[in-house]
């Protein structure tokens, strides 16, 4: 995509920003920030901010109660009846964030592992993480679009804080911004009603083996089930089949297999 200044007096550069345009492989908008924000791509359905405020408490409580593992998990997600006749009447997914693990490191720092869903992800951070686990590189624009349009994206960040609680509030926040590191992600695509597929589950190798991946997938599955999405599927590499089996997944249930399209 070549930007050519027009010859007219009001020279304006037109930039293709349609989410459905096809991107050629060597035209990454490298000078644009690919930091995802809610306004980067037009959302297909309108966002219901009013409804989301009312739902926030219920949703958060149900997620937290699931994490705390109550024996009698009776909190129910109460959905207000849809008042409009529009097609898109599902309540929007609310940003959720809470601390999964907190531990003190040797050098006196406190490390917090924060689970968050529905938040913003820096695509460059994600690319770095994918490199760390050894995945092949994928075009950044496609990655950004995929994240934007996935039904749920759950991330794990590690935040380092100095253990001594100082009175310099601003400084600490600055430090937090700098020391927040993406260490895990999982995302799911769905038709919002019946089916969902989980793609791209990854955890930084330095943080593997601690149950973080398990927590990621468990939260994701729980959130999907709470939305009454019954068919949750995924395609597991051979070395992680056991990992998913322990989480309640079954290989080829009832003879269902996934097939992929390979054009000749």
């Amino acid at each position: 995509m070549i930007l050519i200044p027009t010859s007219s007096s009001s020279s304006s550069y037109s930039c293709c920003s349609l989410p459905q345009a096809s991107f050629s492989s060597n035209s990454y908008p490298s000078n644009q920030s690919l930091f995802l924000s809610k306004s980067a791509y037009p959302i297909r359905h309108g966002s219901r901010n009013l409804k989301s405020l009312r739902l926030r408490a219920n949703f958060w409580e149900s997620i937290r109660s699931g994490f705390v593992k109550n024996n009698n998990n009776t909190t129910q997600l109460v959905e207000p009846p849809p008042t409009t006749q529009e097609d898109e009447d599902t309540e929007p997914l609310l940003p959720v964030e809470f601390t999964l693990v907190e531990r003190t490191l040797q050098d006196g720092f406190i490390e917090e592992i924060i689970f968050s869903s529905g938040g913003e992800i820096d695509v460059y951070d994600l690319q770095t993480l994918c490199d760390k686990v050894g995945w092949p590189r994928r075009p950044l624009t496609k990655l950004a679009a995929a994240l934007k349009n996935s039904y749920m994206v759950a991330t794990l960040h590690s935040v380092l804080k100095p253990s001594s609680s100082s009175s310099e509030g601003d400084n600490e926040q600055q430090q937090q911004q700098q020391n927040k590191k993406l260490i895990g992600m999982a995302r799911a695509t769905s038709d919002h009603a019946f089916n969902a597929t989980i793609w791209d589950v990854l955890v930084d190798p330095e943080y593997q083996g601690q149950g973080l991946g398990k927590a990621l997938v468990e939260k994701l599955v729980r959130a999907l089930l709470q939305r009454d999405i019954g068919n949750i599927s995924l395609f597991a590499d051979s070395q992680v089949v056991d990992f998913y089996q322990n989480l309640g997944f079954e290989a080829d249930p009832e003879g269902i297999k996934g097939m992929f399209w390979y054009p000749k």
Binding site: W199, N231, L234, S238, I256, P263
Partner: protein, 219 residues
């Protein structure tokens, strides 16, 4: 008869008239006109639900989740959030005409003569989603970037083996590839595998295992 709708850079016809035929060795091949539409507004939810039951297809893949009547509200949500929706219509009298060819020659010759005028009139009427009956359907959802999943592919049993299913799959993959999505997956039962294989699908070359969540949510 069709008009083009611009989607991004690609111009694809969103409604098209086609002919399909079943080739049988001992019988004259029957061609019937079908109408393919990729517009969501052409999907009549009631008809769709009827098609689900006629094809004995359930929205819940796993039997343990229940095979009851499709929930309309969920169906509407699913359709509105599916990126690609393909519906195939044909004239109502054609769904019956092609059904049992063996019995036709025996008993219905007389009936045929009587209703031939009505059939001729029906044949002349142009086919449109409004006067056609939904006989085939397929949908896919994606993340508009990397991956897509095809679901709920079905064709009326009496009209199977005429190439309608393949037409639907090809239309879905064409629409997805025009949006630069090439990672297209389809979950299929054992008996559906030969069909998908014929449409160009195959087992994952990376050797991944398909897994589904089957644990029931008690405690």
């Amino acid at each position: 008869m069709g008009f083009a709708v611009c989607v991004g850079n690609a111009s694809l016809a969103s409604m098209e008239l086609r002919w399909v035929r079943r080739s049988k060795c001992d019988d004259a091949p029957r061609s019937i006109p079908i109408f393919i539409s990729t517009l969501k507004k052409d999907v009549n939810l009631e008809e769709l639900r009827h098609l689900y039951s006629r094809c004995d297809h359930s929205c819940n893949r796993l039997a343990k989740n229940g095979n009851g009547i499709v929930d309309m509200k969920k169906l509407r949500t699913a359709i509105s959030h599916s990126d690609v929706v393909v519906s195939v219509f044909c004239k109502p009298h054609h769904t019956v005409l092609v059904e049992d060819d063996e019995q036709e020659s025996l008993s219905s010759k007389q009936n045929k003569d009587e209703s031939s005028l009505g059939d001729m009139f029906q044949d002349v009427l142009p086919l449109a989603p409004s006067n056609g009956q939904l006989v085939g359907f397929g949908r896919a959802y994606s993340d508009y970037g990397l991956t897509a999943s095809i679901h709920d592919l079905m064709v009326l049993p009496s009209l199977q083996r005429m190439g309608i299913g393949k037409l639907i799959v090809n239309r879905i993959t064409r629409l997805l590839t025009s949006r630069d999505i090439y990672d297209i997956a389809a979950l299929c039962f054992e008996h559906e595998r030969p069909f998908f294989k014929a449409c160009g699908f195959a087992d994952d070359r990376m050797g991944s295992t398909t897994m589904m969540f089957t644990k029931s949510l008690e405690a």
